[in-house]
């Protein structure tokens, strides 16, 4: 009875209050004036002769200067075997200090002035930021400058960054939400995608100071940099300061364009078991698009309708199935984003929530977009546009984005009118085109014994093992064969054909060692460089290479006991790990090695590509986290091309090696001519003079000479 009385009283108050106010009966009656036009000045743009772009935005409200440099090159440029390098670089860049000051000294100097200079790295870029009281700019800027160009990457801070990276790895399975985010990205882009790489203890352990310095050296150049500052300064004075600081900086190689995102996992149901939860985290993913797509405005309207008119009101408010639910077609600046739809629901309604979410995706195709949905969603976007330019720092950030990704200058300002033009038919069209439920990989993280129905009612379930490889465990592919499940059946058939073309499996099995004598010509910044190379590989793990170069003879030996180089005039020294790994990687990608040890690789047939008149099959092969491709004549099994990621810091992107002049040596048919291309330019040629199978070996040559 208490209940009744109380609600009656509250109703009485409500009713009594309403007639008493001769004011607004409905919000629709409220009139509003036109919004005052907001025109923000464009930042001052300066381009130096060395290619660096500077954007300056005055804002005198507070005595602060903020901003920083954004530099092309990020995690996506890091080889799989070094996953985690960009994150470690982002941290130890600042903590490792500059040539003139340690990181700890920087900490004291900056914090006593409440100044902030920080570094970071993400998928596609690195940044050095600054945030100071305007009066301190001149004192702090030299630090910013030195840090940007001459970081020291001191070893103690690299070790600290490793400890931190290892801690993140160890904790990555504690929270269900972070498992969902990570694993769904891997499903969306493919686990080997440069955008889905995951650091492991082994990859962190392999990262050296040389790697960090090399990465910095490869990318941090004025022509890869956009510098933006906003705050309490005079633009002309600031321009002079920055010109003085950066004018003499020499151009470097241009950063490569965005690497391809990769192919997502097969559509289907994927499951991660997590025992200590009573809520399931669900994601549906497939490929998305890029932001410069002309369909972008229509897609934003679609996303707005999907979230605000459909997912949130229906799955959350009406069905009470979730606290968090949402989704949309994702788009990135220079590579496709992912389509995602996600929901978190109690274990006992997992299948129910999946079905509701899936139904709403189907509804994007089946349920017409109403005039009201269209009007509301467009109004939401257009009327809120003012918030994207309501401060000088937001305007600067926008200008930096457009500059960095090469978008037209009016991209943001044109956006509201493009949204206004979107029609219901267009929303329906983009919904059909960009949301394709048949392509969805469904991921569930949860405790399956509490589910309302078994996941298998949705089809075959692929379990994902998220066990963290223990520290010290060998990286995948070295000692244990790669999981056979990952090699596709058609991949295996093609490998067999390639083996047959070369001479057959028995002959390959009989190869214990192989010696090549080659003449190589490579393009260098100093011009063409010719050398003769005599290289012997004793399978599985001994390599000796002797190179005759203009400055003398260089010998490099790699064995499990140690690796060294004998250099003209410098004697014997340890082979740097990066060089050692580079040579091992080349041998690992060599045709004979691949065909001799196919069990160490995973092979996936990834479509076809024209090579001359031949419709070649693309065979991806992966080992130690590194994926390369052979382009194979499907009729004969002959390899036409090999596509690998460049190991040369001066060369970015893929190196395409074209094979020809096949000859027979000891029963094996091998190419004797190869041409390497990078970015459409020929960068080297190799001519094989002789190949010896199982040559007589002088093992003394493999021992390190006494000093």
């Amino acid at each position: 009875m208490r209940t009744l009385t109380r609600i009656a009283i509250s109703a009485a108050i409500t009713l009594a209050a309403t007639p008493g106010i001769a004011q607004v009966k409905h919000p629709k009656e409220i009139k509003f004036p036109a919004l005052r036009q907001l025109t923000q000045p464009a930042p001052k743009r300066v381009q130096l002769d060395n290619g660096m772009v500077i954007l300056l935005m005055e804002d005198h409200e507070l005595p602060l200067i903020r901003g920083g440099a954004r530099i092309r090159g990020g995690a996506r440029e890091v080889p799989a075997g070094k996953a985690g390098l960009a994150g470690m670089l982002g941290q130890s860049w600042r903590t490792g200090g500059t040539q003139s000051r340690t990181g700890d000294q920087l900490d004291e100097f900056l914090e006593s002035r409440a100044a902030i200079v920080e570094t970071g790295a993400n998928d596609d870029s690195m940044n050095v930021s600054i945030n100071v009281l305007s009066q301190d700019f001149d004192a702090v800027f030299p630090i910013f400058l030195e840090l940007m160009r001459d970081p020291a990457f001191r070893q103690d801070k690299i070790d600290l960054a490793k400890t931190q990276a290892n801690a993140s790895i160890s904790r990555r399975n504690d929270e269900a939400g972070s498992i969902l985010g990570r694993e769904s990205t891997k499903l969306g882009y493919g686990a080997d995608s440069p955008y889905a790489r995951q650091p492991e203890y082994a990859t962190i352990a392999s990262i050296t100071r040389d790697d960090l310095l090399a990465f910095h050296k490869r990318f941090v150049h004025p022509n890869n940099t956009v510098l933006g500052l906003v705050g309490d300064f005079d633009s002309s004075t600031m321009e002079s300061k920055l010109r003085a600081a950066f004018n003499s900086w020499q151009r470097g190689p241009q950063a490569p364009p965005a690497p391809a995102v990769g192919t997502g996992a097969k559509p289907g149901v994927y499951f991660v078991a997590k025992e200590d939860v009573n809520q399931s985290n669900v994601a549906m993913v497939h490929a998305g698009t890029t932001r410069n797509n002309p369909d972008y405005p229509a897609l934003q309207v679609l996303n707005e309708i999907l979230n605000s008119d459909r997912l949130f009101p229906r799955i959350r408010t009406q069905q009470g199935l979730a606290y968090s639910v949402g989704g949309g077609v994702g788009s990135d600046w220079d590579r496709p984003g992912l389509f995602r739809a996600q929901v978190g629901t109690k274990s006992g309604t997992t299948l129910q929530a999946i079905s509701s979410l899936r139904a709403e995706l189907d509804n994007l195709h089946n349920q017409p977009f109403t005039a009201e949905e269209l009007k509301r969603s467009k109004e939401s976007i257009v009327n809120a546009h003012v918030f994207t330019i309501d401060s000088k720092s937001k305007v600067l950030t926008q200008a930096m984005n457009l500059e960095f990704y090469g978008y037209p200058k009016d991209w943001y300002s044109k956006y509201p009118s493009l949204v206004e033009q979107v029609t219901a038919a267009e929303v329906a069209r983009v919904a059909k085109k960009y949301v394709t439920p048949d392509n969805i990989a469904l991921l569930v993280v949860g405790k399956d014994k509490d589910f309302d129905k078994p996941l298998t009612t949705l089809g075959a379930v692929t379990p994902i093992d998220i066990t963290i490889p223990e520290p010290g465990a060998a990286p995948a592919g070295t000692s244990k064969p790669a999981p056979p499940a990952a090699t596709s059946a058609d991949g295996m058939v093609l490998v067999k054909k390639m083996q047959d073309f070369v001479g057959g499996k028995p002959r390959l099995d009989a190869v214990k060692s192989v010696r090549y004598v080659m003449a190589q010509s490579s393009k260098t910044p100093q011009g063409a460089m010719e050398m003769e190379m005599d290289q012997t590989v004793v399978f599985p793990d001994r390599i000796r290479a002797m190179m005759k170069m203009p400055m003398g003879e260089v010998t490099m030996v790699i064995t499990p006991e140690g690796s060294f180089a004998n250099l003209p005039g410098m004697g014997v020294r340890d082979l740097p790990a990066s060089q050692r790994d580079g040579i091992k990687g080349q041998v690992r990608q060599d045709l004979v090695t691949v065909l001799k040890f196919p069990e160490r690789y995973t092979f996936v047939v990834a479509g076809t590509e024209k090579v001359g008149s031949i419709n070649a099959t693309v065979l991806e092969f992966t080992a130690e986290g590194e994926t390369s491709r052979f382009l194979v004549d499907p009729a004969s099994g002959k390899v036409l091309r090999k596509v690998t990621r460049s190991r040369n810091p001066m060369m970015q992107g893929d190196v395409i090696t074209e094979y020809s002049e096949w000859k027979t040596f000891g029963g094996l048919q091998l190419p004797t001519a190869a041409t390497a291309m990078n970015n459409g330019e020929q960068v080297g040629t190799t001519t094989v003079k002789s190949v010896e199978i199982n040559p007589v070996l002088d093992m003394k040559q493999w021992e390190r000479p006494a000093a």
């Binding site: 209940t3 009744l4 109380r6 609600i7 509250s10 409500t14 209050a17 008493g20 919000p27 409220i30 509003f32 919004l35 005052r36 507070l62 005595p63 602060l64 990181g103 700890d104 900490d107 914090e111 002035r113 409440a114 945030n131 009281l133 009066q135 301190d136 600290l160 400890t163 931190q164 290892n166 801690a167 904790r171 929270e175 939400g177 991660v272 078991a273 025992e275 200590d276 939860v277 009573n278 809520q279 605000s308 009101p313 009406q318 009470g320 978190g344 109004e379 257009v382 009327n383 546009h385 003012v386 918030f387 309501d390 401060s391 720092s393 399956d448 996941l455 379930v461 379990p463 998220i466």
Partner: protein, 508 residues
């Protein structure tokens, strides 16, 4: 030595320079208007006309600490209900809906009573009553226009629409283009004019999902819940603000009306508006709309005071997740004169890479990924905890962190803080305030928050002056009063290796 002296000299010079900047803060004050409406509602307007937009924050001086046993989670539940609209927004026919909602409450009361019967429960009757209740909900749902309130805000260009329930208060906020000020005044005032509790029981399900996400399915969430209940044995700070699951499964819309009537009165609320709003033009609009909220006496202050702790307490969760360490010490409320000393200690221990815990535990000993100590857990209106939290690096147990942490705490108690270290802290406190002054939304929240807790928004700026006065002796005194074993509660997650037989990525 010379380097240190130089640094100190530089720091001193800077102090002078920053006080110049502080002059601008008083200019900030000149643009601020405060007004108390006749019904007791406090309005703060800060004019920042750069862009034609404004942000606001409504702070209701009632949070989870205002709940009592049986209705825990209700403050938060009510926050969710403040998005449901009024008698014209969110409904097709309020009169019809109102009758239907009355029926929902009637049937729920009967059902709830029957199912909670402690002896001789009649299961058949419970089932029947539950059906009647669910049918009543379906009938009421027919009147609902789902999410119309939210859509009205967003169509008008509103962004950042959200709310939060803390232990001390409930806050509502968003930002709007400034030409929609009157619409905002209508929509915001309607939330507090009367409760419209449609879709209450569905929203309860949503809140239960929120609880599963934040507390039950999260290792740190589970630890915090245990840690708080261990640290507070009497005060409501000991109960997680999201409420006990059994209370969430029981509370009714009627309970929510009750809570609303007691707590959501104008005298218990502050609204701060920051942006392109002229106080002279805005105040009449505010009077027109917010003036309709009926005047009522403010709620009775809380009775329960946490008794002085007299024993060291420890709670350990053994879990499959990675270790985590918490250590909390009772301290007085945020309004206590020593608050600025605690604030200085927090910065000294936790702010930046020169902070003591970072240098010692993270940088040098490499035993922690993160280590800091902070004030105001889980609130600051009442006596609360100074809490250290440490995330150990791989290979270190949670318990192994206690000793190195306490070595640093001991330094606070026994050694004077050096002049330059203290100066650096004061410098950063000032700059940190300065960096908060360029966001309408941030300012609105700060102004409303300070006005609510301290009765004067100016405290936001005065605090800096108070920190400026902190001496090394103050820090030693307060550290010695606070950081003693009998005032300590420790919370840990220790890793329990998963059983060897546990399936890896098992499928069904």
């Amino acid at each position: 030595m010379t380097v240190r002296n130089q640094l100190w000299a530089i720091a001193l010079l800077l102090t002078v320079a920053v006080s110049a900047a502080a002059q601008d803060l008083s200019a900030f004050e000149k643009r601020t208007t405060v007004r108390k409406l006749d019904n007791g509602l406090t309005i703060i307007i800060l004019e920042r006309p750069e862009a034609p937009v404004f942000s606001y924050a409504t702070v209701v001086n009632a949070g989870a600490a205002q709940e009592v046993a049986g209705i825990t989670g209700l403050a938060h539940m009510f926050e969710h209900m403040a998005f449901k609209g009024n008698d014209v927004i969110g409904t097709k026919d309020w009169k019809g809906e109102q009758a239907a909602l009355r029926k929902v409450e009637e049937t729920y009361a009967a059902y709830d009573r029957a199912r909670r019967q402690e002896t001789a429960r009649d299961e058949t009757r419970v089932k029947q009553l539950e059906k009647e209740w669910r049918d009543a909900i379906s009938a009421a749902d027919k009147f609902v226009v789902t999410e119309e309130f939210t859509k009205t805000v967003e169509s008008a260009g509103g962004v950042g629409l959200n709310a939060g329930t803390a232990m001390d208060y409930t806050i509502y906020f968003y930002s709007m283009p400034s030409n929609r000020f009157e619409l905002w005044a209508y929509l915001e005032s309607e939330r507090y004019r009367a409760p419209f509790l449609r879709e209450f029981y569905k929203e309860r399900d949503v809140v239960m999902e929120e609880r599963r996400m934040r507390v039950e399915s999260s290792p740190v969430g589970r630890l915090l819940q245990q840690f708080m209940s261990m640290a507070f044995i009497a005060h409501p700070y000991g109960v997680n603000g999201i409420g006990h699951m059994s209370d969430l499964q029981t509370i009714s819309a009627t309970d929510a009306v009750d809570f609303f009537k007691k707590q959501y009165v104008p005298a218990n609320m502050v609204i701060a508006i920051v942006g392109d709003v002229k106080a002279a033009e805005a105040m009449p609009v505010i009077e027109k709309y917010f003036g309709r909220i009926p005047k009522a006496p403010g709620p009775e202050p809380l009775r329960t005071i946490e008794p002085k702790q007299n024993s060291e307490r420890t709670v350990i969760l053994r879990e499959a997740s990675q270790p985590f360490y918490l250590e909390g010490y009772h301290r007085p409320a945020g309004t206590h004169p020593d608050d600025s000393i605690y604030a200085a200690m927090e910065m000294l221990m936790s702010n930046g890479r020169t902070s003591r815990l970072y240098k010692s535990l993270v940088r040098d000993k490499k035993i922690a990924v993160q280590a800091s100590g902070f004030n105001g857990f889980p609130g600051e209106k009442y006596a609360n905890l100074f809490t250290y939290f440490i995330v150990p690096t791989p290979g270190n147990t949670a318990s192994s962190l206690a000793e190195p942490l306490r070595a640093e705490i001991e330094r606070l108690k026994t050694e004077d803080v050096s002049a330059e270290e203290l100066q650096s802290v004061k410098m950063r406190a000032k700059a940190s305030l300065l960096r908060q002054l360029d966001s309408n939304a941030g300012l609105a929240r700060q102004l409303a928050g300070y006005q609510t807790l301290h009765g004067d928004w100016r405290k936001l700026f005065r605090e800096i002056g108070e920190i400026e006065k902190v001496t090394p002796a103050d820090i030693r005194r307060v550290a010695n009063e606070t950081f003693v074993a009998s005032n300590r509660t420790v919370g840990m997650i220790e890793r329990l290796a998963p059983a060897a037989t546990a399936p890896k990525g098992a499928s069904k």
